[in-house]
């Protein structure tokens, strides 16, 4: 079977050493609710030709959480095999309509949400923020979802307040900002991803950006691990703010008497091993009691928001993982689920509604909790 760039899957992803142990499928949060089975797909990629990929709509169920990669005793990347298979589906135009719309919009508008590029900075209209041309220590890369989704805009606004309180010198790109491409690559659109990467690297270069701080773990991940030619240092906001906390520049003074549980975003935790900074920020808020899920950190359960799943329901049936997580949080007595990712915010808010726990438990981004503690 051949990948999009002509190599065989076996060679490109070194699949010959797969043990068929099944740890990947065993740990996959979707395999119980879909025909998705990383172990099987790794085997199929070795054995068959392209035909086998076609009509596999369930390949869109994968959230690219990378739990399979984390568990594999052979250090293989089943998740990359699935992304490679999606590339073939894209070439064959066997793409869910919603995914196609998201990709087209990213090409045309620079965001997958079908919104106009000229409206990207509307959320910041009254904040009088520095623009990148003025130069600053950090470039705050907002991201598509915090820029456009009214609920998540509040995360961007909260972050701005906390940055200011902690004396962070930052600027934004405003309407020049474009999708980072993390989700685009994971939906299999390699060409579009490369285009975005080149454009973004050039923009960062033009403004002499040396440090980037992101709202989203997804943007953070792609800049940090996948961008070629990016010279800037990359931080997730929890890292930057934790540093400011340690230096005494971020002062959390107001009390918040709440039981808070933290959902590790896959792209921050499992994929980038950032576990402590978010927890430290939360537990430093006076009055907060930080609870832990039974399955936390590397064993945390994906919220199902990644890998293009924001634009593809695909085939998975049964209870969404975010709903399971909300129920667990309620059972543990949590009053707030703290998130550090725009997609977790959306999947969890929806899950709170679906489980009927509105009014009983709230979903807040860490930045929103910090705002309450500084003001």
């Amino acid at each position: 079977m051949e990948t999009i760039d002509g190599e065989s899957f076996g060679e490109k992803y070194d699949l010959f050493v797969c043990l068929q142990c099944g740890k990947c499928t065993g740990s996959c949060p979707l395999s119980m609710r879909s025909q998705l089975s990383p172990r099987k797909h790794v085997r199929e990629a070795l054995l068959f030709d392209n035909e086998v990929v076609l009509d596999k709509e369930f390949l869109w169920d994968c959230t690219t959480c990378a739990t399979c990669r984390l568990r594999c005793p052979r250090d293989l990347q089943p998740v990359e095999v699935i992304i490679g298979m999606r590339s073939i589906l894209i070439e064959e135009a066997k793409v869910p309509a919603t995914v196609q719309e998201a990709l087209e919009s990213t090409f045309k508008n620079g965001n997958p949400w079908g919104r106009a590029p000229s409206k990207r900075d509307e959320w910041a209209a009254e904040l009088s923020l520095k623009s990148a041309s003025e130069g600053a220590e950090y470039l705050y890369y907002v991201g598509c979802t915090p820029a456009y989704d009214p609920r998540v805009q509040n995360v961007a606004k909260s972050l701005v307040r906390v940055f200011k309180a902690a004396g962070v010198d930052f600027a934004i790109l405003g309407n020049e900002e474009k999708c980072c491409g993390n989700e685009i690559r994971r939906m299999g659109e390699v060409g579009l991803f490369e285009m975005l990467m080149e454009d973004n690297v050039e923009i960062f270069e033009n403004y002499g950006v040396e440090r980037i701080v992101t709202s989203s773990p997804h943007c953070y991940n792609v800049f940090k691990n996948e961008y070629e030619g990016l010279k800037a240092e990359v931080f997730h906001y929890t890292q930057l703010l934790c540093e400011k906390l340690d230096n005494g520049l971020l002062k959390l003074t107001k009390e918040l008497k709440k039981k808070v549980i933290y959902q590790d975003p896959c792209f921050l935790g499992k994929q980038n091993k950032i576990f402590e900074e978010p927890r430290k920020l939360i537990s430093s808020i006076p009055g907060v009691e930080l609870l832990e899920y039974d399955r936390e950190k590397e064993r945390s359960v994906c919220c199902e928001g990644g890998g293009g799943r924001m634009w593809a329901e695909a085939t998975a049936t049964g209870e969404r993982t975010a709903e399971t997580r909300v129920k667990e949080a309620v059972a543990l007595g949590a009053e707030i689920i703290a998130v550090a990712c725009p997609f977790c915010m959306l999947t969890f808010e929806d899950a709170v509604k679906m489980t009927g726990y509105e009014g009983k438990i709230e979903v807040k981004d860490i930045s929103e909790l910090l705002v309450e503690a500084i003001e």
């Binding site: 949400w113 009214p150 609920r151 509604k353």
Partner: protein, 328 residues
């Protein structure tokens, strides 16, 4: 006297509405062109159609052939190009339907006749035909003038009202020019849309329900909503939670992970207006929202908003729509 051809569209033993709409819609134009109206009827065993059409046209031109039993664009094209060459109608009208669009472009190209598609009206300007068609998703009416007669046009369904003029048509049977077998296109079968399958992206009016309707599996709730939708001639769509609960099928979901719709009217009942929902419907022409929470984000995209319990509002709306219809 000049002639206007109107192609009769029928399927499975029934005349389609578009036929009558075209026949009555072109009467004024025919008069101004000083032309009579000929209904062109192709098919097999179609005597009952002749009867039904008699009061609608000046003449009915009938071609019967086994090969015309079911619609086949190739067979229709051969017959029509033969008839048009022979009789030189000044204007040929064909429905802007899947049948019509399978046929008209190729026929126009073969005959070298100018074709305007999806027309909603006509005018004569200095003796030349001007067709009116919509552009930019219906926001602009464009006037397309034809260079020279003869003309050909496809007509949007429901663009004209079907009003029986009470004529009595002369019936003429013409021999079928189909001597050879039709080989390129073959009729296989009619595929029925599965029962209950509705394409919400094509709907002109949508009544969309969200979690505010409570338990949508409840007969009473359903019938209150369905009654309003029926009065409005609207299809029912929904937000994702309604699909998640299994109350409506997945193909009714509006939003970023569902369908994108642009109806003339989008009536949102008990939908909060999450970004993922709004992105799928904000391009609708008119958005009306009913929500008991005045702060619901749906009101930022709505053209009209009603802040109240939807179960109070919907029956009143249904009644008002009924009244308005009765009064027209």
């Amino acid at each position: 006297m000049a002639e206007v051809f109107v192609l009769v569209e029928h399927r499975r033993g029934e005349l389609r509405d578009i036929t009558f709409e075209m026949l009555s819609g072109c009467r004024d134009l025919a008069k101004n062109l000083n032309a009579s109206i000929t209904a062109v009827l192709l098919g097999k065993n179609i005597d009952n159609f002749v009867e039904q059409l008699k009061s609608w046209a000046d003449k009915i031109l009938v071609v019967e052939d086994d090969k015309l039993e079911n619609f086949n664009a190739e067979a229709y094209q051969r017959v029509l190009s033969h008839l048009i060459k022979e009789r030189k109608p000044i204007l040929t009208l064909i429905g802007h339907t899947s049948f019509g669009m399978d046929l008209a472009p190729a026929l126009a190209a073969e005959l070298g006749i100018p074709l305007a598609t999806d027309c909603i009206g006509f005018e004569l300007q200095d003796g030349r035909l001007v067709a009116i068609r919509q552009m930019y998703g219906g926001k602009v009416n464009a006037r397309i003038s034809f260079k020279t007669a003869p003309y050909m046009a496809t007509i949007r369904s429901a663009a004209f009202k079907a009003e029986e003029p009470g004529l009595s048509a002369e019936v003429e049977k013409a021999p079928s020019p189909l001597t050879e077998e039709i080989t390129t296109k073959r009729f296989l079968e009619y595929v029925e849309a599965a029962v209950g399958e509705v394409d919400i992206t094509q709907a002109e009016r949508i009544v969309a329900v969200g979690r505010g309707v409570g338990d949508y599996s409840d007969e009473k709730v359903r019938s209150i909503i369905e009654e309003l939708a029926n009065e409005l001639g609207a299809v029912i769509a929904c937000s994702r939670p309604i699909v998640d609960k299994g109350w409506l099928p997945k193909d009714r979901q509006v939003g970023t992970s569902g369908k994108t719709v642009k109806p003339k009217l989008y009536l949102a009942l008990g939908i909060s207006g999450a970004f993922q929902h709004v992105a799928g419907m904000s391009a609708s022409e008119t958005i009306v929202a009913v929500n008991k929470d005045p702060k619901a984000p749906i009101f930022t995209v709505a053209d009209y908003g009603i802040v109240d319990d939807l179960f109070k509002v919907v029956p009143v709306l249904t009644e008002k729509v009924r009244e308005a219809k009765g009064g027209s």
